[in-house]
C-alpha cells in the first residue's frame, strides 16, 4: 500500500454554522458563518490561505457551479478554488482535496468549505429530478427514502430479521441520535423523542417512517488544514491530525450483477478496510473511540456499522438494541445528533461530522463531551445502496 496520509496533515481550525431551516440565510451567509469561526479558530490571516476546496451537491438550487461562489463570498485572495461534487460524500471530498494539497507540499494552508442551502425549493425533502438524459428514460422514479427502504427489506431477508425487530432497532438508532442532538445548540432538531412516537410515525417509504429519515436543512462547515509541524510552530497543542482518508465508488456491480444481495454497502466495506490499514488500526472495535456515520436513514446507520467492521454482519441490530452505540455505550455513534438531528445539507455534512470529532478530541464538546476520545471516524454515503460513493475519514490525537 502507498504510504498514506497518516499524520501528514493537521486540522488547524474548524467552524460550523447553525444547521436548520435557515430562512434568514442564503448559502453565502451560511458559508461566512462557518468560515468566520474556522478562521478565528485557526488563528491565521485569510491571505495565508493558498488553496481552497468547495463542496456542494445540488448547487443548481443555490450558488451555482464553479469555485467562484466561494471565492466571491469570502473575497479570497485569488487563490485556486476547486468545486467538488460527489453526492453526499462531497464535504469529505473537499476535506480530502485540502489535505492532499498540504500533504503534497503544494500548500501550507488550505481551506475546505462545504455548504448546502436546500430550503429554497418550496417543498420538503431533497430536490429531485437529477440525472442525465438517458437516466431520465429508464431509472426508476425513486426517492432517497425509497432507495434506502430497500436496504431494510434486503437486510431482513438476508439475515432473517423480523420486521418487528428491525423496526425496533432502527427506531433505537433514531432515538439515540435525538437524545444526543438535544444537547447540541447547533443541531437543527434539538428535541429528545419518545420511542412510541418514533415507532408510530407516518410511513414515508415502507418500512421507513418519518423518524427513520434525517431532516432536510441548511448549513455550512469548514476546516483549515496545515502540517503538524506548522501547527506546532504556531503554538497549537492538542493537535488533531488526519489518520486516513479513503473513498470507494461503485462500479456498477451491485446495481447490475446478481452477486450483490442488497443488504450491505459494498463500497463501505472496502473504504473502511483501507482506512484502518492507512491509519494503522488493527482492531477497530477496540481502537475507535467514536463515530459520525451517514445516518441519512436509520437503517443506513445500522447496516453501516456492520460494513465498518464494528458489528458482525447480521448482528448490528442486536448491538444497536444493546446500547453499544449510545452516548454511554462502548462506541458512541452520532454523539452530535447525526444527520438525524442536523439534517443533511449535502455539501456540508462530511465537514460537520469532522467538526464534532475535532471538538471531541480537543475536549471542547461541552455537555456532549465524551471521556478521553482519541480516535474518531466519519463516514459518508452518497447515492443509493445499489450505486454509491462511500467516504471515510479517521482523525485523532497527534502524538
Amino acid at each position: 500500500m502507498a504510504r498514506g496520509i497518516k499524520d501528514k496533515v493537521a486540522i488547524l481550525g474548524m467552524g460550523c454554522s447553525k444547521f436548520g431551516e435557515r430562512w434568514d440565510s442564503g448559502a453565502e451567509e451560511l458559508m461566512l458563518e462557518a468560515y468566520k469561526e474556522c478562521l478565528k479558530d485557526a488563528g491565521i490571516d485569510q491571505n495565508q490561505l493558498q488553496a481552497a476546496w468547495f463542496s456542494t451537491a445540488i448547487d443548481e438550487v443555490h450558488v451555482g457551479k464553479s469555485g467562484i461562489p466561494l471565492s466571491t463570498t469570502l473575497r479570497l485572495p485569488n487563490i485556486p478554488v476547486t468545486h467538488v461534487e460527489n453526492m453526499c460524500a462531497s464535504g469529505t471530498e473537499a476535506f480530502r482535496g485540502a489535505c492532499y494539497a498540504v500533504a503534497s507540499g503544494a500548500a501550507d494552508f488550505a481551506l475546505a468549505l462545504g455548504v448546502e442551502k436546500l430550503k429554497d425549493t418550496g417543498y420538503g425533502g431533497l430536490p429531485g429530478g437529477r440525472g442525465g438524459p438517458l437516466q431520465a428514460l429508464w431509472n426508476a422514479s425513486g426517492t432517497a427514502p425509497g432507495n434506502f427502504a430497500q436496504l431494510a427489506t434486503a437486510y431482513m431477508t438476508a439475515h432473517g430479521v423480523s420486521g418487528e425487530d428491525l423496526k425496533k432497532a432502527i427506531g433505537h438508532v433514531s432515538w439515540k441520535s435525538h437524545q444526543n442532538g438535544a444537547k447540541n445548540p447547533k443541531a437543527h432538531l434539538q428535541k429528545a423523542v419518545e420511542m412510541d412516537t418514533i415507532l408510530n410515525a407516518p410511513m414515508i417509504a415502507s418500512p421507513l417512517g418519518l423518524f427513520d429519515c434525517c431532516g432536510v436543512s441548511d448549513g455550512a462547515a469548514a476546516a483549515i488544514v496545515t502540517t503538524p509541524e506548522i501547527a506546532k510552530a504556531l503554538g497549537k497543542h492538542d493537535i488533531v491530525s488526519v489518520k486516513a482518508l479513503q473513498l470507494s465508488v461503485s462500479n456498477g456491480s451491485e446495481s447490475g450483477h446478481n452477486s450483490w444481495d442488497g443488504s450491505y454497502f459494498h463500497t463501505t466495506r472496502i473504504a473502511s478496510k483501507k482506512a484502518y490499514e492507512e491509519a494503522g488500526i488493527k482492531n477497530p472495535r477496540d481502537e475507535v473511540s467514536m463515530f459520525e456515520v451517514h445516518d441519512c436513514f436509520s437503517v443506513t446507520e445500522l447496516v453501516t456499522m456492520e460494513d465498518l467492521h464494528i458489528s458482525e454482519p447480521g448482528k448490528g441490530w442486536r448491538d444497536v438494541l444493546d446500547g453499544f452505540y449510545d452516548a454511554d455505550g462502548k462506541i458512541p455513534c452520532q454523539i452530535d445528533g447525526g444527520l438525524k438531528c442536523f439534517g443533511h445539507p449535502i455539501g456540508a455534512s462530511g465537514l460537520r461530522m469532522l467538526y464534532e470529532m475535532y471538538l471531541q478530541i480537543q475536549g471542547k464538546a461541552g455537555p456532549r463531551q465524551l471521556k478521553d476520545p482519541r480516535i474518531g471516524m466519519t463516514h459518508n454515503l452518497g447515492g443509493a445502496p445499489r450505486e454509491n460513493i462511500s467516504s471515510v475519514a479517521i482523525v485523532g490525537r497527534y502524538e
Partner: protein
Amino acid sequence: MVGIVAFGAYVPRLRLNRQAAYDANKWFAPGLRGLAKGERSMANWDEDSITMAVEASRDCLTSHKAEDVRNIYFASTTHPFKDRQNAGVIGTALNVEQNLSATDIGGSLKAGTSALIAGLNASKGGAPSLVAAADKRLARVASSGELNYGDGAAALLCGTENVIAKLVGHHSVSMDFVDHFRGDESDFDYGWEERWIRDEGYSKIVPPAIKAALAACKLKGSDITQFIMPSLMPAVPKQMAKICGIAEGAVRDLLGANLGDTGAAHALVMLVDALEGAKAGDKIMVVAFGQGVDTLVFEVTAEKDKLPKRKGVSGWMARRKEEKNYMKFLAFNDMLPIEKGMRAEFDKKTALSVLWRKRDMIYGLVGGKCRVCGTVQFPRSQVCVNPNCHAIDSQDPYAMAGLECSVMSFTADSLVYSPDPPGYYGMITFPEGGRFMADFTDSDKDQVKVGAKMRMTFRIRDNDQMRGGFKRYFWKAAPV
C-alpha cells in the same frame, strides 16, 4: 391460403364498477341508471393504446417470432401521436425494425377491421403481418359513453402458414353516415339520436353489406356459426343477423357486461374471444360499422387446436381488480385537476437523440450478454459488469422483455410523485442474470414481496405535457 395464424389480446387489470360511477353522477344524470351494472375495463394511468397494443401483440406472438413480421398495422381512434408512427413504436418495442412496413389506421370505429383486411391482403404473398388494434377513448363525465366504453386491445397475426382461420372473403362499403364524430378540437365523441342511427344507419346500411359479403363468399346466412358485430345498442346485432338469415345463437356476446366497448379494437377483441373457443369448420363473420361497413368471413381450420396457449381475452379478463373509486378513474384519465404537488413539476423533456441511440434498450428492453463470461446484464455496456470479468466490447444484444424476473428488494414510496401513490419500485433480478431498479405497475400491497415473480410490461413512464404530450415509454415490472 391467407388467414389468421395467431391471435392475442389485452385487457387492463382495473375494472371500474359502473354502479360506483353512476352513484357519483346520478344527481346530474339519473337517466343513466339502466347502465349502472357490471363493470368496464379501465386503463391504468400508465396505459394508452400503444402500450395495450404492445401487450396484445406480445400475447399474439407467444407462438411466433417477432422478427419474422414484415408489416404492422395499428388501428385506433386514440393513437397517442398525430404525427409519429404509432405502429413503429410497437415495432421497436417488439424489436422488429428491419424489413418492416408500419402503418397506422384510424379515423373510424371500423379501423380495426380495415387494418385486418389490409393485413390479410399484405400477407397473401406469405409475408406475415401483425394487426394490432387498441382504443382508450375518453368520454364526458356523466355520459353514457363513460359507462359503455372499455379500454382494451387485440392483435392478429396474418400469414399463409399454419393458418388457424382462413379468410373466406371480405367486403366493404364506405359512406359518410355520421352517427357520431370526434373533431380534432375535442377529446370527446358527439353523437346523434340512437333511434335514427338504428333505423337509418344500421338497418339500411348493414344488411345489404352482409348479404353482399355472403354472396362473394358463396355462403348463406345460416352457414355462419359465429357472428361478431360490435354495437352500443345490444339489440342491433341480433336484428342484423335475423335480417340476414344468421341464427340468433351465432350472435356473439358483446362483452359489454364486464369489459365494455373497446372502440376500434372491439371487433377484433370479439374475434379473439370467438377464436379462443372456436373449432375446425366454424365460420366466423366479423362486421364493423363506422361510416360504412367492413365484413370479413373466416373458416376455422384444424390448425387452431395446435396453436399454443396464450392469455387471450379470457386470460386477461381473469386478471382483474375492481375499482370503485370513480375519482381515481377521472384522475387516471387526466379529467380531474388534482393537486399533484411540486414533485410532479420536474421537466420531462426527452432528448430525442438519446432515445434514438438507445431505442433497443428503452423500447425493446434489450440488454447484453457477455461472450467471455456469459453474464446477462442491463443495460448493455461496453465493459462487462461481472466483477470477475470486465471484458471490453464483449456483449451481444440480449432481449429481456420476455423473461420472468423476481423482486430482490422493493418499497412503497409515499414521497415520490406517482399518479397512483404510493409508488412501488424495486430491484428486480432475472434468473439468467441481469437486474435493475424498476418501477412496478399494477401492484398492490399484498402482491409485492421479496421473491415475488414479476413480468415486464411496456408502459408510459412520463407524459411531457409541457411539449404537447410526448409519452415516454419504458418497461415496468408487474406481478405475474
